[in-house]
Subunit: 221 residues, 2 copies
DNA sequence: GTCTATAAACAGATAGAC
DNA sequence: GTCTATCTGTTTATAGAC
């Protein structure tokens, strides 16, 4: 018989702790977040963290795994499983599709704020979490965007301009989430949602088309 | 007579504490950084923080003031004091100039990593530090970039496309600093320096020209 | 202006009852 | 699986010697 009044089982407590931890790690950072705070936010006992995750570190690792999965699904798994298209126009369209669905996630889903804050903190924290995020998410995604941009422009897949260009695309997208407190104030927006995501996607997609146009090799037309 | 062996005076201790704190606040976050750590890094006594800054909060505020000044000077004060140019080509050139000098600072100056990490943390921390950074730096800079982009394209200064476009420009620039651990690995770069800054600036400036070209009203030509 | 010593609060982890 | 109680170490701030 459980002591708590509601009918929550072990798996539910585990998930609640994980989401509470993700929010707090994202908002305050790993070291700055106390296990007492997490347990309190999840309405669970402090000792339950040790029971379900082995400790604070284990809870952190569980958050990282969740974030990697969430981000990969937001980008759209179909883009990665499909064959690389031969037609430059189709490749260009796919890049716009990835950008639009990523913006839709970042500026539409309530979880996105925590996911992106968590990630940006880990990028500046060398360690196993960054390592697996890089190998499982960042590098494969960047390589795929490079391949698509290369097809769209006729340039080499690994040319410096293409690789830097893919990062400049990633940068403008992630900024609208990380810098949303600034953007919202300057744009007179409130909470991020579909209308805001649409306006951002329109500008970003125009930038993608402009990048492809100015970087297309003339002799490949 | 001072107890410490070297000839450091009060002002020097104050500055050393401030730089040590900036590095640590940027790397680990405000709450996660202990005053012991700061004092140890600055080779000063723990009690000296209370003496020079009144406490941990005062030290944080001093870091914020320094960061705001450093960022403003990196963008180039001349751009803000000068008159808004009438010629679209001159306005476009000024935007490229701001982008290039900002990239030069972010991907060239050793302090830039700490400055930008400190700032991105404060953007997600509502409070007086964000408030003054927004009013003193972010908003004036964004307004100025909007005004220049508007001149360059012939659009209205406060049109949504211009405002969002200015943010997409800011985003791609700041990303190369915040995401440098990812960029460096994918580009086979080591520490950020002038050659890297030059390559990034070339792509970003091409993006600026492409943005202006695709967003120029035909009837203003 | 710098130092030591210490107070009072807080951290993560764990043992053991239920 | 959840809880209380507690151990051990660390935190910021401060009082007072020099």
């Amino acid at each position: 018989m459980q002591k708590r009044g509601d009918g929550r089982n072990g798996e539910e407590t585990r998930a609640t702790l994980m989401f509470a931890a993700l929010e707090l790690f994202a908002a305050k950072g790993y070291e700055a977040t106390s296990t007492r705070e997490i347990a309190s936010a999840a309405k669970a006992n402090i000792a339950s963290i040790a029971y379900h995750f082995g400790g604070k570190k284990g809870l952190h690792a569980a958050c990282a795994t969740f974030v990697a999965e969430r981000l990969t699904s937001a980008i759209g798994t179909n883009v990665f499983e499909a064959e690389l298209p031969d037609d430059p126009a189709v490749a260009a369209e796919l890049v716009e599709q990835v950008a639009t669905s990523l913006i839709g996630f970042l500026i539409g889903q309530p979880q996105a704020k925590a996911v992106s804050s968590f990630i940006i903190r880990e990028i500046n924290r060398p360690g196993p979490v960054f390592e697996s995020l890089y190998l499982d998410v960042f590098e494969p995604v960047h390589r795929r965007i490079c391949a698509l941009l290369a097809r769209a422009t006729g340039q080499d897949t690994e040319s410096e301009t293409i690789r830097i260009g893919a990062f400049s695309l990633a940068g403008q997208i992630i900024y609208f989430r990380l810098g949303y407190p600034i953007v919202a104030r300057r744009m007179d927006w409130l909470e991020p949602g579909s209308p805001e995501a649409g306006k951002i996607a329109a500008v970003v997609c125009a930038n993608i088309r402009a990048f492809i146009e100015t970087n297309t090799r003339e002799d490949s037309k």
